[in-house]
């Protein structure tokens, strides 16, 4: 019931935002349609973050943005059709589950531009821009910070479902911890993920805060004092468990949780930022330019270098000033390709 109510309230809020933008009547004639995955527009995760990019483009570029929510896999195609029939110039699909439908409609409608979050095509499709993120780079830094901040010598992570956009966080996190161990002669352990064996703890969904709480309680009772939940809103349940447990930290994902979930600010060590809004905004800016012809099948890769990924400020007092300096240096080293953050090796190991 409360969820329904909050859904309604969020929509009221969204509508007021959208309508206040329309009220100015300076909306351009460039129309952007975003299609969410099953989580819905208010998932506090990738759908919501991607939509934030559209909203920013509405405010700054004066384009017109709309979204359609998917309730089942069979909804993707009619949602795309809806926007095509309404004459939208750019269609942004969110999530790799939409990859097949997006490709099919992109090939059938070469005049419409498409962008897809968390997927890129090989071979590329001319009118589609893939938006992917080297999240391992940022998670590496968070893993390093966690290894420095832990009191018990055990840190943990868990995921929603074992899919690349999720496991990439966990691989980077483990690499960061291992790198800290090697640099400092420490022996910090990682619970909940093992890159070499491709095994880890997964709750099986991206919705249940109860699951997040339960798994966090288990990890805490096994001695972990820092947890990075990579499962969208599931992690908010973990944050609550951590807050009640005390003397422990949570690491946010996707967005800066001190902003999106300020009630847990006192236990948030840092957040691994996956700036999908930046990527979506960048894409809209590109496609709405009057001189724009085609994406030419290019892929946008969000990295530390272009602020497509990053970490938020590490909580004060959690790590020493030296470690902060080390993290800054690591950031530069990763940008310069001097450090391996583990993803390429993991993917190679899968095949």
């Amino acid at each position: 019931m409360r969820k329904r109510l909050s859904v309604v309230l969020v929509f009221v809020l969204l509508f007021s935002l959208v309508l206040s933008a329309c009220g100015r009547e300076d909306r351009g004639d460039f129309q952007v349609g975003m299609i969410t995955d099953i989580g819905g527009i208010d998932d506090a995760s990738f759908n919501a973050t991607s939509w934030a990019g559209v909203e920013r483009a509405e405010n700054e570029l004066g384009i017109q943005g709309d979204f359609l929510e998917s309730q089942a896999q069979t909804d993707y195609a009619p949602n795309i059709t809806q926007f095509i029939n309404q004459g939208y110039e750019l269609i942004v699909t969110v999530g790799f589950l939409l990859a097949d439908d997006t490709a099919e409609f992109a090939r059938a409608n070469p005049d419409v531009s498409f962008a897809i979050v968390d997927f890129s095509y090989d071979p590329p499709i001319d009118n589609v821009r893939g938006l992917v993120f080297a999240t391992d780079e940022a998670a590496f830094l968070a893993g390093y910070a966690a290894a420095a901040a832990t009191q018990t010598g055990i840190v943990a992570t868990f995921g929603g479902i074992n899919i690349p956009p999720v496991s990439i966080f966990m691989v980077g996190f483990e690499s960061g911890v291992n790198y800290y161990n090697a640099q400092h002669g420490a022996d910090v352990q990682v619970l909940g993920w093992n890159t070499a064996e491709n095994t880890g703890v997964f709750v099986g969904n991206f919705e249940s805060t109860d699951d997040g709480r339960r798994v966090a309680d288990e990890l805490l009772s096994e001695g972990a004092d820092i947890i990075m939940p990579v499962a969208g809103p599931v992690g908010l349940g973990s944050a609550q468990a951590v807050q009640e447990f005390g003397n422990a930290w949570i690491i946010g994902v996707d967005t800066d949780w001190t902003v999106s979930a300020p009630e847990y600010a006192n236990v948030i060590l840092t957040s691994v930022l996956k700036n999908m809004d930046v990527a979506v905004f960048d894409t809209i800016e590109m496609a709405s330019n009057p001189d724009f012809q085609s994406f030419g099948g290019e892929t946008y890769v969000g990295m530390l270098d272009n602020d497509g990924v990053g970490i938020s400020d590490v909580a004060a007092g959690a790590i020493s000033a030296e470690v902060r300096t080390e993290i800054e240096a690591l950031r530069e080293a990763i940008i310069n390709n001097e450090i391996d953050t583990g993803w390429a090796g993991y993917i190679a190991g899968l095949n």
Binding site: V7, F11, V12, A72, Q73, T74, Q82, L97, I163, N198
Partner: protein, 441 residues
């Protein structure tokens, strides 16, 4: 439909004819097998029996309209300026939203007529797109609704249609991509049969548990749902036995020889396929089974009163297992037609919701195949229209879920509708064919 219309209205005679092996049925359990009280409402499967559902739908739409107005900021703004303006604005908002709803479900009548007159094929195809999408969504709904309705007729509450959908989906997609070099005439039926068999076997488990141990099927089907979700996850997860191997948790694509033929080949947005005819055929088959065969009579007798059935010489455990298996086979077909006709692969985190909506469909259709088909078409139209309403009028999809929920509330509690519209009528007249032996086993 190959039957004379009079047959459906008058089911008593054929029933008795098809009942030779149980002569004691005539005297003993007459009030239980009860053709007479049962015949009355069905013989009125005309305007009268449609009145309550139509009023329920209408009332739900009115309440939905109220909700649309209440969640629209422009109405408040207009209202603050001038209350009358607010009222006017409210009606404008409703008109726009429901107009988009209608066009999304059935197409724009003006566009459709113009397109037909112009004779331009692409234009016609574009104009009929909404209807094709309504029929496409209705297809799995019909199968799933029939599955639950058949269970209700047999006194069984099959909440496991969603889980049966998953198992059937796995079986279908496996045959769909693994049988290489088989002609379509063989491949397609085999893939469909795999779906039916998967659903039937999965549903037969709670049937068997109920027949042998008395374990209530509501509990066991719900629990089996979770097992099937997790099993599907295991099979399709990255690195799982049925994963495609490109780093995504999806099955390989099925081969073209397993495709259900499309009505409009080459038009990817027009997805209605022969699965829709299969669904109508299934509805006819369920009707024929229930009202024209001995087995159907047994199923319904056990559904009304298993003790009377036992007394009448019916093998009740066998009937329970068969009912569940048939119900599961129907649920399986909803997955099979979705995969072979629309999706062409099976993703992890595959979520349909059909299995749960199906309970509502069976209630709305009063567990009668014709009712289920009508209810499925309605829900298909609601879902297809909702997309256009969100796209054009920016009304959230959740409004449609609420309208669907309200329809069910009014159907399940018809007294509300009777009170509102001052209708006369007795409760038993629209008694639902629900399980009557709750908690008895």
């Amino acid at each position: 439909m190959h039957t004379k219309p009079s047959d459906s209205a008058d089911s008593e005679a054929p029933l008795d004819r098809s009942e030779p092996p149980a002569p004691q049925l005539q005297e003993g359990p007459r009030p239980i097998s009860s053709p007479s009280p049962e015949k009355r409402p069905r013989s009125r499967f005309g305007l009268r029996s449609l009145l309550l559902p139509l009023l329920a739908i209408g009332t739900a739409l009115v309440l939905g309209a109220l909700l649309i107005v209440l969640t629209d900021v422009t109405v408040y703004e207009a209202f603050l300026e001038n209350p009358l303006l607010g009222v006017g604005r409210g009606f404008a908002v409703i008109g726009r939203a429901y107009g988009a709803y209608f066009v999304g479900a059935f197409g724009d009548p003006v566009q459709l007529t113009e397109a037909l007159l112009s004779g331009n094929v692409p234009r016609i195809l574009r104009a009929i797109y909404p209807i094709t999408e309504t029929l496409r969504i209705s297809t799995p709904y019909i199968f799933a609704g029939l599955a639950v309705a058949l269970g209700f007729q047999g006194g069984l509450f099959n909440i496991g249609a969603e889980g049966q959908y998953f198992i059937a989906g796995l079986a279908t997609v496996f045959l769909g991509y693994s049988l290489v070099g088989v002609p379509q005439l063989l491949h397609l039926p085999l893939a469909l049969l795999a779906g039916m068999a998967g659903g039937a076997l999965w549903a037969a488990i709670p049937g068997y548990l109920k027949a042998k141990t008395g374990a209530h099927e509501v509990i066991t089907t719900i629990m089996l749902n979770y097992i099937s979700f997790r099993f599907a996850e295991y099979m399709l997860d990255v690195g799982g036995p049925m994963a495609r191997g490109d780093g995504r948790p999806v099955s390989p694509e099925i081969l073209p020889s397993a495709y259900l033929p499309q009505f409009f080949p080459g038009r990817i947005e027009l997805r209605v396929n022969f699965g829709f005819f299969l669904a109508l055929a299934a509805a006819w088959a369920v009707w024929w089974l229930l009202y024209k065969t001995t087995l159907g009579f047994e199923i319904r007798t056990v559904g009304k009163n298993p003790r009377a059935g036992r007394y009448a010489g019916i093998n009740v455990p066998r009937s329970i297992v068969i009912t569940m298996a048939l119900s599961g086979a129907l649920a399986g077909l909803s997955a099979a037609t979705d995969i072979l006709g629309v999706l062409r692969f099976m993703p992890n985190a595959f979520f349909s919701g059909y299995g749960f909506d199906a309970i509502a469909l069976a209630l709305l259709g009063k567990s009668h195949p014709v009712g289920v088909v009508l209810a499925s078409l309605l829900f298909g139209a609601l879902r297809a229209g909702a997309r256009n309403m969100q796209g054009i009028a920016r009304v959230p999809l959740d409004i449609t879920s609420i309208i669907q929920g309200l329809i069910i509330v009014f159907i399940a509690a018809p007294e509300i509708i009777r009170q509102i519209y001052r209708l006369r009528g007795r409760l038993e007249d629209d008694g639902l064919a629900l399980a009557r032996d709750w908690g008895e086993g």
